[in-house]
Symmetry: D2
Subunit: 288 residues, 4 copies
């Protein structure tokens, strides 16, 4: 539910004394009550990270959006920040190739309101006919096939798609094409990929087969922001499952589907609830 | 390591607007820098919980302990609070009956400095001769045998022990005697028990045998504050392990030892680092 | 994939020397090769349990089904047993009330061939109009409303449904009606329920709210065979997830959906692959 | 407890029809009753693996050890095999460097009879004086210091130690020296190392610092047989723990100690109970 009188403030800046005091003092002076707050001081990099959920103390809709009042503090402290209504739905583009378990899962979660998002569209390098069993409802589907020769053009189309539809988050829901450095750069911090291994183990292609060959006893999946370096982006969420010598590569693929679905969904939820902040090669995740 | 210029403030009170602003403003005014802060507003009960780690901005030892300055704010807001030096070791009494795996584990963790505590003494209803394999070093051992008839006297002795040695935390490290309501009340919020089941399942005696009889597929352990109601106290930490039909009650006991050790140690660490705050029948735990 | 030359033999009987020798000797004599075998001797009850996967050594389709040859051994040793083609799809009836996350999940898993089953029908005490977002394809839907007064009649209809459609497994996929003792008895060992708590904790209604009230730090779900005693049937599978003081009952419901889906799916897969054998109040589960 | 009338048979060979029948038929003919059996057919490599626990049907001590009778079958089928009394304690050598948490843990587990082993000795490249807090009881301690120049001589001494004391299993309990190819080859399948990462991620030195740098959300530990290739040996057991952005490298080291202890102990238990069989670069582990 969007709450008209509640907001999420997410910010990061160089650490220095008094930030919490300044932010909380400002909110109090504006008549807001802090409902939840988490902060983190990275002593290694000297950076400060904060997430604050606040609302009007009386439950009324504020006369003017709190964004305006906050801008001067943010500028003064050199913050990277965002301020959104609690529960506001953001526009998300889902990219998929052949395997649709993450796609179907996200459609369901979106439908029952578990994820605060509006699916702006579905993009695939495979044609719509391969997803006949799936009901996409009103969601537009874009078939953007790609070959080595047409990759540049395809990414241009994709980028146009993203801009036209005002997409705020791109999700690679088992999209098996590597984004170019250029497109990755444009999508910094707003493109999430699910890799079907427990990174940094088994980067690249066919990770379940790699895991089978190596004889590991636990497999996993990793949701991370996409960067130019393949499978090297900042990790948002990981999870694992035990396996045994009895498991064939097909079994790993099957067991992996469950891990991938829940890891990707959790990463998206955390992103959409403004719980994730980039911290260089890493992320700060303020969990619930 | 005790840091002479860093402190942990732990507090709870009835929620109202401006608490974070007031606390952080006060600390800033006193020349302190917030290093870590977590808070929680329980909308159900209307209570506010906070843990703040702070230090002098310049790293110097403060002229006067920050406790004094904070007292008036705390009183004004009706807070229950504590303020301690970061890393300060607290005096802990360990109670044990026959099984010493938790005791031995805590002795080791204490020795290598993993837990910020000083073991004030070890109390058992079994004699020292049953623990011959264990090296207690300089730690005094008290044999306080107990029967149904002498329970009152034994608890009186125990209570004297606790007072004389200025014990701040009592740990029932597989101490198989139920504390009376009276003693439990005196130790509210500073007596931790490890129960060898995943509460609320399998309360009372022989939980692993109960679990075996029921045929569960996962067993667990629960660390909780002791109250007058057996196995009903506020839960601090729980963890589990998978089992199978092949596991005998003896196997469950063996697997359970590992769960008990880590659950109890984690609960104690969280307590000693002032991460746990009582919230009626529950706890707020600000994890790392 | 159904393999025309491979079979799963599942059996249990009173233990005595020579069973493995007799079974494996028989299969060898018939020209079969054992591909996988697991057994369990319950020393407590003196019962023997076995699962054997075998195929013709030359990969050919056997002249006659191995069932016939096995019958005499089985009778002689007083076995309860089944023998099925590997991968054979069994007819399953799904029952659901309001929440459809398990239903939708099972439909998807069935569609991609993850579960060796054919969904014979979907039964709900809620009308089809409440599931408009779900595409049931060709699967027949039966609306069987129920009140306290009509429970007897409704169960009679349900039982007729089960018989007419030759249903081998009934799945209560968040079906919030308690089956009567009579119907439970008819469905012994072939009706699986998902309970949304870590049994034996939080039996009965609204387990997530019970868990919230109690302040547990881990929640779970339990798949079990249905018996006349509510939430007391033999457990097939359980799993858990960590929670914190920040989680509201709604958060528990959301997190629980993920646990319920995977626990129920895993229990059904194990049942359909003949990995589960009843052992009194418990189950033997030969995992992969 | 050593059972004079019960045995564990562990074997592997090229797969072919009739092995189970032959082995179980033989045991039955000799008057033995199978108590537990697990097998695995690796379709990829065409190898067969089996673990059988059996005892005399009447509970009597067998007239002659079953080893003799089994030899001809084993030779005929080209088996690699072992046959031991159930519960027989094997001679284990523990190697340790600076960090003694695994050592202390194994000493305790050995003392309470959790692991069927006799600790033949403790070897360290650090002097006894660094372990003053640990009570080694009667267990001989060998200080074998090592430098790049003296590695050859040190390993020769170590090997002599192993032979003289008739050591059956060598455990690298956080021994921070890499064994040479030569020594690794001599100890194939009977030297277990604990690596403090979730392999294949973070091989080599300072894995927790590598994990911190990479920003993973889960850390782990891996117990594996030692081979000439560093951190590449067949994996026996792995486990993991969640971490967050708040965890410093020191926190990872602390949390890692718990994972390392239980992963190493579980791998050793499985090895000593003859549950682990080498399968090329991998292991077959017949879990309980």
């Amino acid at each position: 539910v969007v709450k008209d009188n509640s907001y999420i403030l997410k910010l990061s800046c160089v650490d220095r004394p008094g930030i919490v005091s300044e932010v909380s003092g400002h909110l109090f002076a504006q008549g807001f009550n802090i409902l939840d707050a988490q902060q983190f001081n990275d002593v290694e990099t000297g950076h400060f990270f904060m997430r604050v959920v606040f609302g009007t103390a009386d439950g009324a809709i504020p006369a003017e959006p709190p964004t305006n009042g906050f801008r001067s503090i943010a500028e003064q402290l050199g913050m990277r920040w965002s301020l959104r209504r609690l529960g506001e739905k953001r526009r998300v583009l889902l990219l998929v190739s052949k395997f649709d378990h993450c796609l179907v899962d996200l459609l369901y979660r979106s439908r029952i309101g578990e994820l605060p998002m509006r699916i702006a569209g579905i993009v695939s390098n495979h044609p719509r006919s391969e997803f006949l069993d799936s009901d996409f409802g009103e969601i537009p589907f874009f078939h953007l096939p790609v070959t080595r020769e047409t990759k540049l053009e395809q990414e241009a189309e994709l980028w146009e798609c993203i801009q036209k539809m005002d997409v705020e988050l791109v999700v690679l829901a088992r999209y098996m094409q590597v984004l170019s450095d250029g497109l990755s750069a444009k999508l910094t911090g707003r493109c999430i990929n699910i890799h079907h291994s427990f990174l940094p183990g088994f980067k690249g292609a066919k990770p379940y087969h790699q895991a089978f060959e190596r004889g590991v006893k636990v497999i996993g999946a990793t949701a991370h922001y996409v960067t130019g370096a393949l499978d090297e982006g900042p990790i948002i969420e990981q999870d694992v499952e035990r396996i045994s010598h009895r498991d064939t590569p097909d079994d790993l693929v099957r067991k992996g589907r469950d891990i991938e679905r829940r890891v990707l969904a959790k990463a998206i939820l955390n992103h959409l609830e403004d719980r994730v902040i980039l911290n260089g090669r890493k992320t700060v995740v303020f969990t619930d």
